[in-house]
């Protein structure tokens, strides 16, 4: 059972149910005790349970203080106390999110995988909102309920905008105390709880009434069809009968030939019998009296009579032939007897008896001749009679043929006759069938369209269709009932939708001030508090611990997303003091007070595994000895350094911090540095350190260690690879483990930063698996990634030329930019100096003093420096104004308006995508409200012209650009003092926000002299504390380097002159008299 289910169940007998208030507290339930126990206690309890089969009350740990829902409080205290060793590493499942970069994917995966907390920190414009939106969407897909909170409404609305169209997210926007839905962006206003309920109710009403009407109509149609089924059944019956008759006819037709043939056969048989009877002088058999029978009998009888006569004649002839053959045989016998006698007589062979017998007989020769003649005569007669017999036989066959033909012809005629009779009958039936079919079609046509008509005009088909119709009627009635109930429910009011949305909204978004005070999801709402599976906080760095706790107690897991305005955050204890003995960063010329970190920062410092904070450093000292710093050493500690020589390597020096034993200093001695002689290479030194101290002294550049797994190795990446492979050397630390160190090109390091550890590799072949490698890294590198943090440092959406500049100036190289991205030399960054800088670069090395163009409108002595009509309209706007700079901004906008649209920017900002015409979103950021107001006043007359030129211009101070970006941003730095170092705006955060809002182009307006003076001022300034002052100074100093021509990406930077006449092509926006003269003189 999930915790949420448990809370819903609320049974009185449930083990975790809360105790009655007037009673002594019940003993805490097992689940509560177990969850509150430490990992060691849990293991011990489970082991005991395995052995005993159960646990006994006295074996349970003492219950923790506080109610059970204080999970976050306990967790927070535990983590902030540094007890993170018990936290198991969270393995994140890689996600398939091609729209996000690697870091963002990792952040989303970790946020989804964490069982308790996940911290995501990112530089501005590194895609934090995208990550938040993806986390919310994925969690919602998993069926989790998400509470999205941010100190500012704009952050919440930005995430909601990114989630628009994600069907898995049912989002609700809760209004803050001072918010009104009409002031929200349309996408957020639609999600306001009341508005959402109203819209849903409206849609449901429409759908319900539509459904009801359709259901009523369908029922009416079905009702009208009730009386059609009986006629249909009758018609089907009739049709069936007709079909049967047709079938019978067809059968009869098929049987005609056989029947007629049979009759004919029967008649032949009777005729045969008649013939036989006639032969026996018996009476002839009876025959049928149908015309067919009579005719066929007569014909056959006649033919047979003729045949009988022929048979008789033939018989006579056969008898004659027989006789003649006998005569002929007798003659031939006599001839045969006389032939030898005749031969002997004729031959004169008197010595033979034959001659003597012939002699005795007489004239044998004559006798033989007579016999020959007689035989010849008989033969002739025989031939004649046989010929006659053959003729008779042929005639007899002809008679038989004739009889057969006659019989066949008569049969066929009879068949045809009978077929004709059936044709008549069939035609009558068909006519009747057509009538029935017509009636059928007419009746079927009257059935409602939604009814499935009978498939055929049969009783079964009608019955089937009727059954289907009855089911349809039942369904229609059911639907009508449902529609009526649904309509009644919807018409009863939106209350049920309110309750349902409260129960089923899986993303509740609210500014932090609204959570707990709303009437739907707060604890005071009817039905008890709504709890959440996931708390998602944007800009968590701005929330105090109490605020975070009050939010977190309602959620099971917590994902806190914070913005980092600088490249690294000083830690308050992760790795000791932050002061270093190495080369200080540019702009950090003095010691600063340690900052007071917020809750997020404190959690971050405890949970984040940041290799760039490892204390190790390598540097060549003045005498070229190689120094390995193992621990950070403060300036105070440096006084207590004692040096020792290694016994077996006297040329290696150990520097040990040995504080004096006193009440004030409780620290123990520690080895701080190891110094190697000049001839020792870094590889040898690193090997020595690992061999002797079991520490891997790495200098990492990445703020987050990343593990990469391949088939043959595991790689712990600690720095981006920008160098060519031949500059990387490998240090063998242990079998199968290599440290890859990046060197400078010539082999000699240019500075300590050049000696960076790119990665540590573990060979799988040597037996290293992920768990073992991670354990090794935790032991020897001090890097234990708990899997609960992610750092976003890849800029998103910037034009290629802008990101490197911002990375350098704003974040001192904090952005991680893909080295493959081509740097465009086109001026993505322009600086418009007001007043103008000297043209020759060498003259810019020393910037002039400030021009003193800033005006405090509240100062009555300076009123004359601003046109009176503008001064009056500035009203109560706070801060300073710089009139000339404001005019320069206006002129720059006019210049932009005159540029071809395709040349303005590569992309159009999100604000400008909606219009039919593609507008270029242009933001004008002024560091002071008064300056923003002044620019707005100057632009008032130009707004229509600018809009017609395709510029969508928004003028505001930095706070107005929270969660808002533009294609082109113009930043009016405003400050221009004659001699004093000044701060810029509210602080570095506002300055960073102003500088990072543009995606394609950045136009800066400022007084170079004032900037130069600010870059040289080392102390705190105006309202800024030490840290803020230093950060601002760092940004300004790096900008000044570009002004002086020495920027790291100087070719991306373009110093532009401001011409007062520029942009005057519009013929509008005339510069007030006197002001132009002043500007000219300044320029």
């Amino acid at each position: 059972m999930t915790r949420r289910e448990g809370q819903r169940s609320g049974g009185a007998s449930h083990a975790a149910s809360p105790p009655a208030p007037d009673r002594a507290p019940k003993p805490p339930a097992w689940e509560e005790l177990f969850c509150a126990a430490t990992a060691a206690q849990q293991a011990e309890l489970l082991d005991l349970a395995r052995r005993q089969g159960m646990l006994y009350g006295h074996q349970l740990p003492a219950p923790a203080n506080g109610p059970p829902r204080e999970d976050f409080h306990r967790f927070l205290n535990r983590v902030l106390a540094g007890k993170t060793g018990e936290l198991p590493t969270v393995p994140a499942v890689p996600l398939d999110l091609p729209s996000l970069d690697v870091g963002q994917r990792e952040a989303v995966a970790r946020a989804l995988a964490t069982p308790d907390i996940c911290l995501v920190k990112g530089l501005p414009v590194s895609g934090k909102s995208f990550v938040a939106a993806e986390i919310a969407a994925r969690a919602a897909e998993r069926g989790e309920r998400v509470l999205l909170v941010a100190p500012r409404s704009a952050s919440v609305d930005r995430v909601l905008e990114l989630l628009a169209g994600r069907s898995s997210v049912c989002a609700v926007r809760i209004l803050g105390r001072d918010e009104r839905s009409e002031h929200l962006a349309p996408h957020a206003a639609e999600l306001v709880f009341e508005e959402r309920v109203r819209r849903m109710h409206q849609r449901a009403l429409e759908a319900a009434s539509r459904q009801k009407a359709e259901a009523e109509q369908r029922c009416a149609e079905f009702a009208a069809a009730t009386g059609l089924w009986a006629p249909l059944l009758e018609l089907a019956e009739c049709s069936g009968q007709l079909d049967e008759q047709c079938q019978a006819l067809r059968r009869r037709r098929q049987s005609i030939p056989d029947s007629v043939t049979a009759i004919a056969a029967r008649l032949l048989v009777s005729l045969d019998r008649e013939s036989a009877d006639t032969a026996r002088n018996a009476s002839p058999p009876a025959v049928g009296d149908s015309p067919f029978e009579c005719e066929i009998l007569a014909a056959v009888r006649e033919l047979r009579h003729a045949a009988a006569q022929l048979d008789r004649a033939s018989a006579d002839l056969v008898a004659q032939i027989q006789r003649l053959k006998e005569q002929l045989a007798a003659l031939e016998a006599r001839q045969n007897g006389l032939a030898p006698l005749a031969e002997a007589k004729a031959g004169g062979r008197w010595w033979t008896p034959a001659w003597w017998r012939a002699t005795w007989r007489g004239d044998v020769a004559a006798q033989a001749a007579e016999l020959q003649a007689r035989a010849q005569s008989v033969r002739q007669d025989l031939a004649r009679i046989e010929e006659e017999a053959a003729r008779l036989a042929a005639e007899r066959r002809q008679t038989e043929e004739k009889e057969r033909a006659e019989r066949t012809a008569r049969i066929e005629r009879e068949i045809a006759r009978r077929g004709g009779e059936i044709d008549h009958e069939e035609a009558a039936l068909n006519y009747e069938h057509a009538l029935v079919e017509g009636k059928w079609r007419e009746t079927v046509r009257q059935l409602p369209a939604s009814t499935c008509p009978p498939q055929a005009a049969t009783i079964e088909a009608v019955r089937d269709a009727h059954a289907a119709w009855q089911r349809s009627v039942e369904a229609a009635l059911k639907r009508r009932t449902f529609a009526a109930e649904w309509t009644a429910r919807v018409e009863s009011g939106p209350g049920f939708l309110t309750a349902a949305l409260r129960a089923h909204a899986n993303l509740v978004a609210a500014p932090s001030s609204a959570v707990g005070a709303d009437s739907y999801f707060s604890a005071a709402a009817d039905g008890g508090p709504i709890t959440f599976d996931l708390l998602l906080v944007e800009h968590a760095e701005q929330l105090a611990e109490a605020e975070l706790t009050s939010l977190a107690v309602r959620c099971r897991r917590w994902v806190l997303i914070a913005e980092s305005l600088h490249e690294s955050v000083p830690s308050d204890g992760a790795y000791g003091s932050t002061e270093t003995v190495g080369t200080p960063r540019r702009g950090d010329g003095r010691r600063t007070k340690p900052p007071v970190p917020g809750t997020f920062e404190r959690l971050w410092s405890q949970l984040h595994c940041d290799p760039s904070r490892l204390p190790y450093a390598w540097q060549r000292e003045a005498d070229l000895r190689l120094c390995c710093r193992l621990r950070a050493v403060s300036l105070e500690q440096r006084r207590w350094i004692e040096t020792e020589r290694v016994a077996d390597h006297p040329d290696i020096e150990l520097r040990i911090v040995a504080p004096p034993r006193s009440a004030h200093v409780a620290a123990d001695s520690f080895l701080a540095e190891v110094v190697f002689p000049p001839h020792v290479s870094l590889v040898e030194a690193k090997s020595y350190i690992f061999r002797e101290l079991q520490e891997v002294a790495v200098r990492a550049r990445l703020p987050q260690a990343r593990w990469h797994e391949s088939r043959d190795r595991l790689v712990l990446t600690l720095a981006d690879g920008g160098e060519s492979p031949d500059r990387v050397s490998s240090v063998d630390l242990a079998p199968g483990i290599r440290e890859l160190v990046a060197f400078s090109m010539d082999g000699a390091p240019a500075g300590p930063d050049e000696w960076t550890t790119r990665a540590v590799e573990f060979d799988r072949a040597a037996g290293w698996d992920p768990d073992r490698a991670r354990a090794w890294a935790a032991r020897h590198l001090g890097l234990r990634d708990l899997g609960r943090t992610a750092f976003l440092d890849v800029p998103q959406g910037y034009a290629p030329g802008l990101a490197p500049f911002l990375s350098d100036v704003v974040f001192d190289g904090g952005y991680r930019i893909a080295t493959t991205t081509p740097l465009q030399s086109a001026g993505a960054v322009e600086f418009i100096a007001v007043p103008r800088l000297p043209r020759a670069p060498q003259r810019r090395h020393k910037l002039p003093s400030g021009a003193g163009l800033e005006i405090d409108p509240a100062d009555p002595r300076r009123r004359d420096r601003l046109p009176s009509e503008l001064h009056a309209r500035l009203g109560e706007a706070a801060g300073l104004v710089n009139f000339l700079e404001a005019q320069a901004v206006v002129r720059a906008l006019k210049r932009l308006a005159n540029e071809p649209r395709s040349a303005r920017s590569k992309t159009d900002g999100p604000e400008a995508r909606n219009g039919a015409a593609r507008m270029t979103a242009v933001g004008v950021v002024a560091l002071y409200p008064a300056q923003a107001r002044l620019i707005r006043l100057l632009l008032a007359a130009e707004s229509e012209w600018l809009a017609s030129a395709g510029l969508d211009v928004r003028v505001d101070e930095p706070a107005g650009f929270h969660e808002r970006d533009c294609s082109i941003v113009l930043v009016s730095l405003t400050r221009s003092h004659t001699h004093r170092a000044t701060s810029f705006g509210d602080g570095p955060a506002a300055l960073v926000r102003a500088l990072t809002r543009g995606r394609d182009r950045l136009l800066l307006f400022g007084d170079p002299g004032t900037l130069g003076r600010r870059s040289e001022w080392p102390s705190s300034l105006d309202h800024l504390d030490d840290l803020a002052s230093n950060r601002e100074r760092g940004i300004v100093a790096r900008l000044v380097q570009y002004l002086q021509g020495g920027g790291k990406h100087q070719r991306l930077f373009h110093l532009r002159d401001d011409h007062p006449t520029a942009g005057a092509g519009s013929g509008r926006g005339a510069v007030p008299r006197g002001v132009g003269a002043r500007e000219s003189s300044n320029a």
Partner: protein
């Protein structure tokens, strides 16, 4: 069980408790310590809850669309496998917002009332499960969940050992007989006892207050299969919390009712009995309640009572004791009566109760003192 019983109260407090129960017209009163075993286990429970109206409408709409004769996937009335309703159809039927509907259906899916179905046209679709259809018909969702539940058993402290389930009210008045600092040897609890209770008839369960919705106990090791998914090992661990409770037992007609004493301040909880035993039950569990302690026991109680008030043992032992109903009558000499009067004890006021017996449960009777 080797735990010692809880200390008995002094006479005034005992008198106060007994007086409170006299309004119930008991036929007998006892005081003493009962042993309780509270067994917390992971149980499989049948949970029934009403489906909210909108969810009911969604189920009805799904059923309607699914069983509609015109529906392409229309199932046979007996089968629920295969048919599916497109979310778009459902959306247009109800006029609800897409994301809201998905979220709502998601919750129905988690309750296994609705199941996603892959249609041929790859559009997202859902179908009603058999459980969903049943829920729609009944209007309530009945499903199996895992819950940690606590079951109380009375244990007879003296041989023969007996365990009996009881529906114990006021578990908070149970004093653990052992703690981490002073562990105590306890007899192991036999899980079969709990299984036996589960096998009992519904009538038995109703009579004894055994939860009817519990139908199985999840064993510590294996032996359990879903649904729902088998829980983790640590959730299955049974916990036995042996404890004892000071109670006053009131025998009323054929039943015995126990009233707990709050250990913090010794207040008797008379609002209702913490457990009750029927006729056969209490005779089996506590047979000593069926018979009055012997006269010697009352004599000893009387002597102890008198000793507490500084009366001479010899004179106390000489007093004849008569026992009747809720009363015990002691006939004392005039001299002893005089001493009682001079001591101005409550004995003289006639509001004294004696607890007689040697076991964990002792019979209580109101003491009447008269001169012979």
């Amino acid at each position: 069980m080797t735990a010692a019983g809880l200390p008995l109260p002094n006479s005034p407090r005992l008198a106060g408790w007994c007086r409170q129960l006299l309004a119930r017209r008991p036929s007998g009163l006892w005081i003493g310590t009962v042993l309780v075993r509270r067994i917390e286990v992971l149980a499989k429970v049948t949970r029934t809850r009403q489906v909210d109206p909108l969810a009911q409408c969604i189920l009805a709409a799904l059923d309607l669309e699914q069983t509609s004769p015109g529906h392409p996937d229309s199932p046979s009335p007996a089968s629920r496998s295969g048919p599916a309703v497109r979310l778009a159809d459902l959306e247009s039927c109800l006029g609800l917002d897409s994301s809201f509907l998905r979220s709502l259906i998601g919750s129905l899916e988690r309750d296994a009332l609705v199941v996603p179905v892959n249609r041929d046209d790859a559009t997202p679709a859902r179908a009603l499960t058999l459980l969903g259809a049943t829920t729609l018909a009944q209007g309530e969702l009945c499903r199996t969940v895992y819950e940690r539940r606590s079951f109380s058993f009375l244990e007879r402290s003296t041989p023969p050992r007996r365990l009996r389930f009881t529906s114990l009210l006021g578990e908070e008045w149970v004093t653990p007989i052992a703690s981490p600092s002073s562990p105590c040897e306890v007899a192991p609890f036999d899980p079969c006892v709990l299984d036996t209770c589960l096998q009992e008839s519904p009538v038995w369960k109703q009579r004894h207050g055994f939860p009817q919705d519990v139908f199985a106990i999840v064993p510590l090791e294996g032996g359990d299969s879903g649904p729902p998914l088998a829980p983790e090992f640590w959730r299955r661990v049974p916990v036995d919390r042996p404890g004892q409770m000071l109670v006053v037992l009131s025998r009323e007609s054929e039943a015995v009712h126990a009233f707990a004493v709050r250990p913090q301040d010794g207040v008797l909880q008379t609002a209702g009995p913490c457990f009750s035993l029927g006729d056969g039950d209490w005779k089996n569990m506590y047979p000593e309640l069926d018979s009055d302690p012997p006269a010697e026991a009352w004599q000893r109680a009387w002597v102890e009572w008198g000793q507490g008030r500084g009366l001479p043992v010899a004179e106390l032992e000489a007093c004849p004791i008569q026992r009747a109903g809720l009363y015990v009558r002691a006939e004392v000499s005039k001299r002893l009566m005089g001493r009682l009067r001079s001591a101005r004890s409550e004995g003289w006021k006639g509001d004294n109760w004696l607890a007689a017996g040697t076991g964990p449960l002792r019979a209580c009777a109101r003491l009447e003192i008269a001169t012979n």
